[in-house]
């Protein structure tokens, strides 16, 4: 392990991050926050990322950093919706280009999973991340991330049939 302060780190242009990770982060939000909330969550993710970007001290895992922000936005969004007394039908129509989801029942079941299981399952299967990376994003240990995926799959098998 290297130690000591890093003098100055070369951050790539923010646009490079957008080009490389825009779609997979959006997809992650479609499956965790839901198709109707993904657009807002994505905007919040991008604005938070832009705000923090120049102060980053480590540029070695920008992809994971973006997913971490997106995960927090998705969780915040979920909690806010849970508190909101308005029925979903009364919410304003999203104006973004609609995303067509194969197997909407499966993904609805994924969204009903507990927070950490939901994020872990989507990061594992949609973003193809290894457990150590998933743990870094959702918090907790690698073993816990593995357990979250396993528990999520067990629950999905109860709720979903092909």
């Amino acid at each position: 392990m290297k130690s000591g302060p890093v003098k100055s780190i070369a951050l790539p242009p923010f646009q490079d991050l957008l080009d490389a990770h825009r779609d997979e982060v959006y997809r992650f939000l479609v499956f965790t926050a839901g198709p109707g909330e993904a657009a807002d969550c994505f905007q919040e993710t991008m604005l938070s990322a832009l705000r923090a970007y120049p102060t980053l001290s480590d540029a070695s895992n920008l992809r994971g950093w973006l997913f971490t922000i997106a995960h927090h936005k998705a969780v915040d969004g979920h909690r806010a919706r849970a508190r909101r007394p308005v029925p979903a039908a009364a919410l304003p129509e999203p104006v973004v280009a609609p995303v067509e989801i194969e197997d909407p029942k499966l993904w609805a079941a994924v969204r009903r999973l507990p927070e950490k299981q939901r994020a872990a399952v989507v990061l594992r299967f949609v973003a193809d991340l290894p457990y150590a990376r998933i743990a870094a994003i959702t918090g907790g240990t690698e073993a816990a991330a593995r357990q979250n995926v396993r528990a999520g799959l067990i629950r999905l098998r109860e709720e979903w049939t092909p």
């Binding site: 993904a38 280009a97 949609v126 979903w160």
Partner: protein, 200 residues
């Protein structure tokens, strides 16, 4: 472990989101305000595709032929380089008019912070005073910038001009005749001078 469930989850990767994500990015850029330090956009022109970059102070960089300038902007100005074409609408419109022969002077702010050194800055300012349709020699500009013997330094100031076309280094030619060099290629220099009505 692959079964129906994990296979179905894997298929989530194929979900098409590019239109939705592009729209979300565009909206976030509109809301980003001062979080964007360097706005970039591209422009198709008769001399090829140009990359334009602006800071809140003004136009800071023009790159030729898809010359990749983002890294340099990130390193020298700020890593918050984001494609934000709307912020360059005025610049793009005036450049379009210029290439159509309907505009001779640009009316927007410039940010010369990518030109380093007092003398280079003065040389670029001197170049800006050459009227369209005319040329000046490197020696002329050296004198204008306060050092008549610094023609070579003027040459390097022009070669490192961060905002070609708008800061008209193409109007600077050698006293020995010919057009001399140009960052975008000498054919482009000839085209720009011709467009401005200069006939050698």
């Amino acid at each position: 472990m692959t079964d129906d469930l994990t296979a179905a989850l894997h298929r989530g990767r194929r979900t098409t989101v590019d239109a939705a994500s592009a729209e979300a990015v565009a909206r976030a850029v509109e809301r980003a305000g001062t979080l964007v330090d360097v706005a970039v956009a591209s422009l198709d022109s008769p001399i090829g595709r140009l990359t334009l970059a602006a800071t809140p102070k003004g136009l800071v960089r023009i790159g030729f032929h898809d010359e990749y300038v983002y890294d340099d902007l990130a390193e020298r100005l700020s890593p918050r380089v984001v494609e934000a074409p709307k912020r360059l609408d005025t610049v793009r419109r005036q450049l379009d008019e210029y290439f159509d022969g309907r505009r001779r002077h640009f009316r927007f702010a410039l940010d010369l912070s990518l030109s380093t050194g007092e003398f280079r800055r003065r040389a670029l300012e001197a170049a800006r005073r050459i009227p369209p349709g005319e040329t000046a020699t490197y020696g002329d500009l050296a004198a204008e910038a306060g050092n008549p013997r610094a023609a070579r330094a003027v040459g390097s100031a022009m070669a490192t001009n961060p905002i070609p076309i708008v800061v008209p280094c193409h109007r600077v030619v050698p006293s020995t005749g010919g057009l001399g060099n140009y960052g975008g290629g000498v054919e482009i220099k000839a085209k720009l001078l011709h467009l401005e009505g200069y006939r050698p």
